[in-house]
Subunit: 404 residues, 2 copies
């Protein structure tokens, strides 16, 4: 018998509680031990102390910082393995928890915290342990990917697509942490910690959301042959590390360009291995519960915990990006020349430009070559100050095509 104590009984928790007994016989065959639910803690019922006393492993599916953090520290200190899907907690108190796991010789597993059943945690921790990773790109928030897919497919506005996501269960009643990029930022902090062996706190991740995306950005994207995604990036830059989340256009050959709807996907790049991409349903009770159960099974077979960090890559703020730049301009001669001069003065080089519309519909839509973001921001501010601009400039990053 192997006692599994469950903290939390929401969507994922209840899916896990029904999955465990279905697989108990098979797990016993693989591990030699039969897992059994030794207790469930809900908001109104159960005692943490009693559950802890009767469990070999604690599954935490409460979410948020407290009381989850306190429970897990007590469980680890008591020598219990821990499985959690809590991305907020790990992206803010991960080092504290990993230290506690190592100090007590127990495991702390968290496959369900990022990309649901897509096994990106395990792959970074184990399969790619023999590779030096250069970059991780991820679509790690299913809500925003669904919203962007629907906006592109139907021409809906952001608000309409978000309402549809809510009615289909792909967005929560309060979707603010999804749409503003903070949820994806927490997940990228965890992936960056594993890929680059450097402590990364959520506060060190720059993030932008998709609330500002306009339907016509997606129309121009289609004309330019691009796909718009909310992309998380963690990349080694010299001796530094940049971790960020922002909307970005992808060229069609990019492995993340075809990831649609509520799916998640992560691409890991390394010189030795080129790239590995993993994709699948990002969340949902049964999927996350399946990832949690995979962790429980692994914890029943003794391997190591997350090792201490040894790298201390500096966090890089200013990185090189290509940009799409959308300008609502006066319909008069010399506008393009003025804009081009500002860009040239800031060292920003134009890759392609389209002039569209007449009169008060006149627009300049362009893609510029990769440039330091600080340079681009300065150019954008200069352009915003031009008298010929009818509205603030809009800019979206473009991921350069790097894949055959």
């Amino acid at each position: 018998m192997f006692g599994v104590g469950l903290l939390g009984h929401g969507t994922v928790g209840s899916a896990f509680a029904s999955l465990l007994p279905q697989h108990a016989a098979r797990i016993e065959r693989v591990t030699g031990l039969r897992p059994e639910l030794s207790g469930v803690l809900t908001r109104s019922r159960g005692s943490f102390e009693e559950i802890l006393a009767g469990s070999d492993l604690i599954v935490e599916l409460i979410g948020g910082i407290e009381p989850a953090r306190g429970y897990l520290l007590r469980a680890l200190a008591a020598g219990r393995h821990v499985v959690t899907a809590n991305k907020q907690l790990l992206s803010q108190y991960g080092e504290e928890l990993w230290d506690a796991a190592r100090a007590n010789g127990v495991q702390l597993r968290f496959e369900g915290a990022v990309a649901g059943v897509v096994p990106v945690i395990r792959v970074l921790q184990e399969a790619l342990a023999g590779a030096t990773i250069d970059r991780v790109h991820g679509i790690v928030n299913g809500t925003t990917n669904f919203v962007l897919t629907e906006m592109a497919r139907t021409g809906m506005t952001f608000a309409e697509a978000l309402r549809q996501a809510q009615s289909l269960g792909y967005a929560e009643a309060d979707p603010s942490e999804d749409v503003d990029g903070r949820d994806a930022a927490a997940k990228m902090a965890i992936l960056a910690r594993l890929a680059f062996d450097t402590p990364v706190h959520l506060d060190q991740v720059r993030y932008e959301g998709i609330e500002q995306i306009q339907t016509d950005d997606l129309e121009y994207a289609r004309e330019l042959g691009l796909h718009l995604k909310l992309i998380g990036t963690a990349e080694r830059i010299g001796k530094g590390l940049s971790v960020r989340v922002h909307p970005a256009f992808l060229y069609p050959g990019h492995p993340l360009a075809t990831v649609t709807g509520p799916f998640n996907a992560v691409t890991v790049e390394s010189e030795a291995i080129t790239e590995v991409t993993m994709s699948g349903p990002g969340a949902g009770g049964p999927q996350t519960a399946s990832a949690v159960l995979g962790d429980v099974i692994s914890a029943m077979i003794p391997p190591a915990s997350t090792p201490p960090t040894s790298e201390m890559l500096a966090i890089v703020e200013d990185v090189v990006s290509a940009f799409y730049l959308h300008l609502e301009v006066a319909d008069e001669p010399g506008v393009l020349a003025q804009v081009a001069r500002v860009l040239a003065d800031r060292g920003v080089s134009v890759k392609s430009v389209v002039q569209k519309g007449l009169g008060d519909q006149a627009r300049l839509v362009m893609v510029v070559h990769p440039v330091l973001e600080s340079q681009f921001t300065a150019a954008r501010e200069d352009i915003a100050a031009l008298a010929v601009l009818r509205a603030p400039p809009r800019a979206i990053r473009v991921l350069e095509e790097e894949f055959g």
Copy 2:
């Protein structure tokens, strides 16, 4: 110190030998042990007995059945962990080797045997241990995927594309096991064993290759909006299991449709998790060496070996497929009616049909709805016997669209 004995020093072996010292310090940090190459056995140099005596783990990269099988059985019997990338050996003598590993309480790992650095073995063994798998689809041979991609992209013939693959290093001097599907069949036998917990021998995998694919099959595919791939399938059918490899058309929404060039990809489907897809470079020395090194690191951290099989799903021969059917026919009235009657008599239902060309270029190209392959084969034989046929009918399976 952790002694790693290396058997074989070809492309993968030499890449591994140079990778190991590069990562030794990092591996020591993770595992507490420093791995060192304790000996290398090549065709002309080294003694297996001496290498075995000085090693904690044996890496086998010789390939083929003997002497690899003998060496690995001796290594396992001597209590050494084993890491191998030998798909031929595992698809024919896997049970013998896994039994020996379990009997001696050591690990036998083989991530490099299927899809290079794409961590499909580990994901099936560990991450998806909590899921009941319904089906595995894979593009598991990079040579054939490169050839089909080039044929589609340039209009080259099979022979021309194969020569190009050879000149770029994507095909071996003797590519017969790649192009006839046997290499993919060996890999699918291994994946089926893990996904369905049933012993599967290479001889139980039906396979067809791509030698018969014509350039115009790819042209019609483009017109129909389809992608042609060499697809391996392992699927649960009632209480049975079908494992097979054949060319198949994919609809654009399929997660494997966009896998191009020498890449590999595997999709795992399960009711609970929907699907997970993994893709990346399928082979190449550095990629496979990286997968092998990941296995070595995992073996240094003690977990369990492949458990004994407990399922005994029957191997199913006759399965349901949709088909593309290409007929070179006489240009005369009533041909379509004759063909349609034969199909109807055999219970084969037409989904779409195109008549093309005139005179001795006249063709009927159709897609039929899913039907038992034995029924379709009977209909195809009846059609071949019609006097209006100018050449033997050509047929290629079509994977039905099942993904949003």
